[in-house]
C-alpha cells in the first residue's frame, strides 16, 4: 500500500518515490501530478506497478509517471522507463499490447459554421467509410507478400499505394517507418490476424472525432500546424489491431523462458524482458517495429477513408474539404534514443506505455516547419469533453526522456462505468450537447463515458506547469465515431 507520505515533493507538480523505498528498486519513481491527481492515483495500483517497473535491469535516471496514469498490467498506463544499451532490458509489457497505439490530428479549412448543416451526413459518411467494431475487417486485401511490405515500410507503403501524400509521411513520427522491422520475427498467427484488419478502427477506446478548434494558446505553432479557431479538425486514435496484440502476447510468453535464462528476478511476470543485445531482445524489437509500422499504415489508411468521407459529405457544400495532417504520434512504443543523463549522452531504449514522445525544439527528425517550435503532441480527452494539441519542450528532454501525457486517463473500471452510466442515456445527453455520435455498441459507449476518465484539462495543466509540454490548441468534439 503506497501512501502520500511515501512521496518526496520536489515541486508543486513533481513527486518522487526514492530508490530506497523498496529494496529491489534500481531507480526512483517520479510522478508528474497535482496534489489532487496524486491522491486520486493512490486509489488503484498504478504507483505500485511503477515501483515494480523500477526493478528492471539497466534502467537509467528514474521511472517517469504521467498525470494521466492508471493501473495497467505489469507497467502502469502512463509510464516511461529508459534502459541503457547494450545490455539493459526491453520489456514488451513496458510498451503494451496495442503496439504503436497512437493519435493523429488533421487540420481543415472548413469553418464550423459552414459545416454545421452537414455534420450528421458527415458522421454517417465517416461511420460508413471507416470500419469499426469488434472483429471488423478492412477494405484493403493484403497478400502475404504485401503484408510483409507493410511491416517493413509502414507509411511509405501507404504512399506507394495511393493512401498517403508525401506531406502525410513527413508529418508522422519517424516518417511512419521504424527501420529495424523484420517480418521474419513475427509469428504466422500475428500475420493471420493482421492481414484482414488494415484500415480498421476496432473497438474499445479507439475513435475518430471531428472537432472544432475551440481556443488557440500558441498562435505561431497553431499556424504552422494549420489549426484555426472555429475551424474543424479530425482526430484518429487507434493502433496495430490484432496484429500488435498477437506480437505482444507471443513475446510475453516467449520471454518467460528468457528471464530464467538471464537470471532476471521480477515482481510481476507481466514485466518479462530480455537484454536488448540478446537474441530474444533483438527478435522482440524487430517484431515490435513491424507492429509499429503496421499501426502507422493503419492510421494512414483510415485517414484516406476519412478524406473520402469528407469528400462524399461536403464536396460542393463547403469551399475546401481537404484534410492536412498536423502530426501522427505513438503512445505505446519502445524507441532507441540518445538522452543526456547526468551530463553524458547515453543511448537508451525508451519504453513509453500510455505516454507520448514530446521532443523539444531543434530535433532533426521533425519536419522543417516544426523544428524550431518542437514536436506536436496529441492529447485526446474523454468522449464528449475536450482534447489538446501541445508542443514538446526542452524541459521534457531533461525531466521525462522527451515525453508527455497521452490522454485523460481512466479513473473508473469499465464495469463500474456501465453500472453508473446507461449507454442510451449518455448518447441522448451528448446529442443534446450537439455532438453527433455513431457507436457500434451502447454498453461500449457507456464504458467510455466521460465520468470514467480524469478531467483532461487538469492533466494538461500539470504537464504545462511542469514545463514538459506547451499548450497550442484545445479541441471540442462535434462528431464521435466509436466501434
Amino acid at each position: 500500500m503506497i501512501r502520500k507520505q511515501d512521496f518526496q515533493r520536489i515541486n508543486p507538480v513533481i513527486w518522487e518515490i526514492p530508490r530506497t523505498f523498496r529494496e529491489d528498486m534500481r531507480v526512483p519513481v517520479r510522478i508528474f501530478a497535482s496534489e489532487k491527481i496524486l491522491e486520486a492515483t493512490l486509489g488503484d495500483r498504478s504507483i505500485e506497478q511503477a515501483i515494480n517497473a523500477a526493478t528492471l535491469p539497466g534502467l537509467v535516471s528514474h521511472v517517469v509517471v504521467m498525470p494521466d496514469v492508471h493501473q495497467g498490467y505489469g507497467f502502469p498506463i502512463g509510464g516511461v522507463a529508459a534502459t541503457k544499451l547494450p545490455d539493459g532490458v526491453i520489456s514488451p509489457g513496458g510498451i503494451g499490447y496495442d503496439i504503436n497505439c497512437g493519435v493523429r490530428v488533421l487540420a481543415s479549412g472548413i469553418s464550423a459554421d459552414e459545416a454545421e448543416p452537414w455534420l450528421d451526413d458527415l458522421a454517417g459518411a465517416l461511420y460508413a467509410h471507416c470500419p469499426s467494431g469488434v472483429g471488423v475487417k478492412g477494405s484493403v486485401r493484403l497478400t502475404a507478400k504485401a503484408l510483409d511490405n507493410v511491416l517493413r515500410q509502414g507509411s511509405e507503403w501507404t504512399e506507394r499505394n495511393g493512401f498517403a501524400t508525401p506531406e502525410d509521411v513527413l508529418r508522422t513520427e519517424e516518417r511512419g517507418r521504424l527501420a529495424d522491422a523484420d517480418p521474419g520475427c513475427v509469428s504466422d498467427r500475428a500475420k493471420q490476424r493482421g492481414r484482414p484488419q488494415l484500415g480498421t478502427l476496432g473497438a474499445g477506446n479507439h475513435f475518430i472525432e471531428v472537432d472544432i478548434v475551440e481556443e488557440i494558446f500558441h498562435a505561431e505553432a497553431a499556424q504552422a500546424m494549420g489549426l484555426r479557431a472555429d475551424y474543424l479538425a479530425v482526430q484518429i486514435h487507434c493502433g496495430s489491431r490484432g496484429f500488435g496484440h498477437q506480437i505482444c502476447s507471443d513475446y510475453v510468453r516467449e520471454l518467460q523462458k528468457a528471464v530464467q535464462r538471464y537470471n532476471i528476478r521480477l515482481p510481476d511476470r507481466e514485466l518479462v524482458c530480455a537484454p536488448l543485445d540478446s537474441p530474444e531482445g533483438k527478435r522482440y524489437f524487430a517484431a515490435m517495429a513491424c507492429a509499429a509500422n503496421y499501426a502507422f499504415a493503419n492510421r494512414q489508411v483510415l485517414t484516406h477513408h476519412a478524406r473520402m468521407a469528407f469528400e462524399e459529405a461536403l464536396a460542393g457544400k463547403v469551399g475546401d474539404w481537404d484534410l492536412s495532417l498536423v502530426y501522427d504520434i505513438a503512445h505505446n512504443m519502445g524507441k532507441i534514443e540518445t538522452h543526456s543523463i547526468e551530463g553524458e549522452a547515453v543511448t537508451v531504449c525508451v519504453h513509453r506505455k500510455g505516454a507520448t514522445r514530446a521532443f523539444g525544439p531543434g530535433f532533426e527528425g521533425l519536419p522543417d516547419e516544426y523544428r524550431e517550435l518542437g514536436q506536436p503532441v496529441m492529447v485526446p480527452g474523454s468522449m464528449g469533453t475536450g482534447s489538446w494539441v501541445l508542443l514538446g519542450t526542452k524541459a521534457s528532454m531533461d525531466l521525462a526522456f522527451g515525453s508527455s501525457c497521452h490522454g485523460a486517463g481512466r479513473t473508473m473500471s469499465r464495469r463500474q462505468a456501465k453500472r453508473t452510466v446507461r449507454g442510451d442515456q449518455l448518447l441522448a445527453k451528448l446529442e443534446n450537447q450537439g455532438i453527433h455520435i455513431r457507436a457500434g455498441s451502447m454498453p461500449g459507449l457507456a464504458e467510455e463515458a466521460p465520468q470514467a476518465y480524469k478531467d483532461v484539462d487538469s492533466v494538461v495543466d500539470v504537464v504545462s506547469e511542469a514545463g514538459i509540454a506547451k499548450k497550442v490548441a484545445r479541441l471540442k468534439p462535434l462528431i464521435v465515431i466509436k466501434g
Binding site: 498490467y73 469488434v134 490476424r193 454498453p443
Partner: protein
C-alpha cells in the same frame, strides 16, 4: 480489487472483479481441469459470443507450456485466436486432462454469429494459480 459479479459455472464460480482499465476474473476449480474449463467459460461469457446455425464439429486441442500459468494463457489465447480468425464459437468445452503442464480438451466449434465484446489479449498480470483446501483459484486479467 472488489468482487462485484458472480458468473455461475455450476459447483464452482467465476467472478468478475474490478480493474481500472481492463477486465479481470477470479476463477475457482475443484481440480486443474475444472479451473481451466471455468476460465474458458467465464471468458466466453464476458465477450458474449453467440452462434449461428450451421455445421458444428468436435475438435481436440492439445497444448503444452512452461508451467501451468503459461498453459492457462496459452489455452485462453488459443480459443480467442480461433474465434477471431476462423469465426467459430464454442458450445461445449470439456477439459479432460491438465497434467505436467500439458492440456487436453475436446471442444465443439459452431459458426460464430457475433462477438459483442473484444478481448485483445490474455495477460500474465499477477497471474498465479494457487492450490487451496477446496481446489485451485486464480485471477486472470484481460486486455480489452
Amino acid at each position: 480489487m472488489d468482487e462485484i459479479n458472480r458468473i455461475d459455472q455450476g459447483d464452482n464460480a467465476v467472478e468478475e472483479i474490478e480493474h481500472t482499465a481492463d477486465w479481470a476474473i477470479r476463477v475457482r476449480g475443484k481440480n486443474l481441469e475444472t479451473l481451466f474449463q471455468n476460465a474458458a467459460q467465464g471468458m466466453l461469457q464476458l465477450i458474449q459470443a453467440s452462434s449461428r446455425s450451421g455445421t458444428s464439429r468436435s475438435k481436440t486441442i492439445v497444448l503444452r507450456a512452461l508451467d501451468n500459468e503459461t498453459l492457462m494463457v496459452t489455452w485462453l489465447e488459443e480459443l480467442l485466436f480461433n474465434m477471431e480468425t476462423h469465426e467459430v464459437n464454442y458450445s461445449d468445452i470439456d477439459v479432460q486432462k491438465v497434467e505436467n503442464c500439458r492440456l487436453r480438451a475436446t471442444v465443439r466449434e459452431t459458426p460464430l454469429a457475433e462477438l459483442k465484446k473484444e478481448i485483445k489479449a490474455v495477460t500474465f498480470n499477477d497471474l498465479k494459480i494457487h492450490s487451496t483446501d477446496e481446489g485451485f483459484i486464480t485471477t486472470i486479467v484481460f486486455d480489452v
